[in-house]
């Protein structure tokens, strides 16, 4: 895997992780997109150095590995679908709560309250 590709993938996943830890849903969705891009770059890089298009034309030139490209394509389609679903869910959450933030688990807070002497 080329260094540029590896560094880019690392930077994308790092930025995605940072965004994922925010409390705003839009940032989380963008963070997930970045992580998925990073993963796709790792897959692409796993096919070895770039070469001619994977078409058998009789020239005998070395061709690039077509499998990672097929895998990336599948992964992109799946990520696209799930991200669209996530956006719809985020919009639904905005309609219901009129805020874009992630809320705490109510039941968790209630039970944590027992331990803290009922402070919540």
């Amino acid at each position: 895997m080329s260094v540029v590709l590896a560094v880019t993938a690392g930077a994308l996943v790092a930025a995605g992780t940072y965004l994922l830890l925010q409390r705003l849903l839009t940032r989380i969705v963008i963070g997930l997109g970045l992580i998925a891009h990073g993963a796709n770059l790792v897959l692409l890089g796993s096919g070895g150095p770039p070469a001619a298009p994977p078409v058998i034309d009789g020239s005998g030139a070395p061709i690039s590995d077509p499998l990672p490209q097929a895998l990336v394509l599948t992964a992109i389609v799946i990520t696209f679908g799930v991200t669209a679903f996530l956006l719809a869910l985020a919009y639904r959450s905005y309609l219901l709560t009129s805020s874009d933030g992630v809320e705490d688990d109510v039941e968790d807070r209630r039970i944590a309250g027992f331990a803290g002497g009922g402070s919540t």
């Binding site: 895997m1 992580i35 998925a36 796993s46 985020a90 039970i111």
Partner: protein, 485 residues
């Protein structure tokens, strides 16, 4: 027989299509039940066939592996398929009996069968990337099923579920990329051959990445936090099938990859520590809860620890015990949630402080709860006892006294929290909210699965023998070859 194996994935997919186009609810129900029953029959045929002879390998589309995609049905996959299609059929019968589930959500049957297809593909695939696709089919269907009421509580908890699922998928893809870069293949059997030549540090890194990815799906410590938050908010049939199947598919993937790709010579201390912590933290979480479905959700986590413990021994006896335990858990966990749903249906709440005296008003619910609860805690003569006894024996023969002690301690706590539900919801004077008698079909479906769980206990010895043969296949690499049939 290769056709039958392909049909295990194809039948639910056809049912998805039919359930989407059929106009009337009655037709959708009929087709859905028929497809589920057909899957059940086919999976039993496959199990009997692979247990009597060799594993079945299918080259999808006529392209032989490693170029094409290979489906492999061995004893482990066969057992998992048979038990999962039993649970799928039972829960579908319950959902149809409940009436308001598929009535309020027209795409229920289509989504349910998409989930079934994903689960079957995950058990059958012999290819790492197809495993990813199978997980995605299963998870995407589960996202839709868990949100279909889309009220505030569900949207909030599903958000966690979907985000965690997507992060795990991203890590899974990175793992596949790294494994492909190291070995040049995504076929599991070929990868297992080539990983032997890979530098041990690289191999360990990829191995632990997969352990973490599947650990998120299986909800092992410390990656379980999403589960008790999201599962209880869905409707009962959905929660029940998630509880019975989804985490176990994660466990299946852990067992499959750790035995085939990253085999260990002796007991793995790291896995055993994780197993012990998962059991204890899960059961302690359950004790703190006051809602039936949340108590049961924490028990899912605790019970995953037992399965991981069986794997951690890396002996035939340990793995066989883990397989028996998984088979028992799929059924019993599903039953527990269905019974919890019956209590909720009859009273309108699952909170222990708001309902009591179910035993006096609707004794049939109590009759269904008791064997399942005692089985979960591992009391003889129920099915959990068979699994736990086998695990404890395997632990003693592997010399792992500490983790076995921890598992027995967790069992006592499990029994304690089961008595908490029993004393809270079933004993006492009936509360005034116990007004709705649960439908006969729902009770019958739950009763059917209770009977299956009793049958597992009754057939404990033959089951353990099949599981032992399956475990031998797993540890010796089995009889499956690349592209062979």
């Amino acid at each position: 027989m290769t056709t039958v194996v392909s049909l295990l994935v194809a039948v639910p997919l056809v049912a998805v299509g039919l359930a989407l186009v059929l106009p009337s609810l009655a037709l959708r129900r009929a087709v859905s039940m028929a497809a589920s029953l057909a899957s059940l029959v086919l999976s039993v045929i496959v199990l009997v066939s692979v247990d009597g002879g060799d594993a079945i390998s299918v080259a999808v589309g006529g392209w032989t592996a490693p170029i094409g995609i290979q489906l492999v049905a061995d004893r482990f996959a066969g057992l998992m398929l048979a038990v999962s299609s039993t649970a799928l059929f039972g829960v579908l019968a319950y959902a149809v009996g409940q009436r308001d589930t598929d009535d309020a959500f027209p795409a229920f049957h289509a989504t349910y069968h998409a989930l079934a297809a994903g689960v079957a593909l995950a058990f059958l695939t012999g290819d790492l990337f197809t495993l990813f696709v199978a997980f995605e089919i299963m998870l995407t269907a589960s996202y839709v099923l868990i949100t279909h009421r889309s009220e505030a509580a569900q949207v909030r908890s599903t958000m966690t579920y979907v985000v965690v699922g997507l992060v795990a998928s991203g890590l899974f893809l990175i793992g596949i990329g790294l494994a492909y870069a190291a070995t040049g293949t995504v076929n599991l059997i070929e990868m297992a051959d080539r990983l032997g030549d890979v530098d041990s540090g690289t191999r360990a890194g990829i191995g632990w990445l997969f352990f973490m990815v599947f650990g998120i799906k299986a909800a092992i410590f410390p990656l379980f936090f999403w589960l008790p938050d999201s599962y209880p908010t869905a409707v009962t049939p959905v929660t029940a099938i998630f509880a019975g199947l989804l985490t176990k598919v994660g466990v299946y993937a852990i067992v499959r990859t750790q035995t085939l790709l990253f085999p260990s010579d002796g007991p793995s201390t790291f896995i055993l520590i994780i197993a012990g912590l998962t059991m204890v933290i899960g059961v302690l979480g359950a004790i703190a809860q006051g809602d039936i479905k949340r108590i049961l959700s924490f028990h899912i986590i605790s019970q995953i620890g037992y399965m991981i413990m069986g794997l951690g021994f890396f002996t035939v006896a340990g793995l066989a015990a883990a397989i028996v335990f998984i088979v028992h858990q799929v059924i019993v966990k599903t039953v527990m949630f269905l019974v919890g749903g019956l209590v909720e249906t009859s009273s309108g709440t699952g909170r222990l402080r708001d309902v009591s005296g179910v035993l006096h008003r609707y004794p049939v619910i109590a009759v269904l709860f008791l064997p399942a609860a005692l089985s979960l805690a591992g009391l003889p003569p129920f099915s959990g006892f068979v699994g736990k006894l086998a695990l404890v024996q395997a632990g003693f023969s592997a010399g792992q006294w500490i983790v076995v002690g921890v598992s027995l301690f967790a069992s006592i706590l499990t029994l304690f929290s089961m008595t908490k539900i029993w004393a809270g919801a079933f004993w006492g004077s009936p509360t005034t909210n116990l007004t709705r008698r649960p439908g006969r079909a729902m009770v019958a479906a739950t009763g059917g699965l209770v009977a299956v769980s009793l049958f597992i206990a009754f057939a404990g010895q033959p089951l353990l023998e099949v599981a032992t043969r399956a475990a031998q296949d797993l540890l010796t690499g089995g009889a499956v070859t690349i592209g062979g049939s």
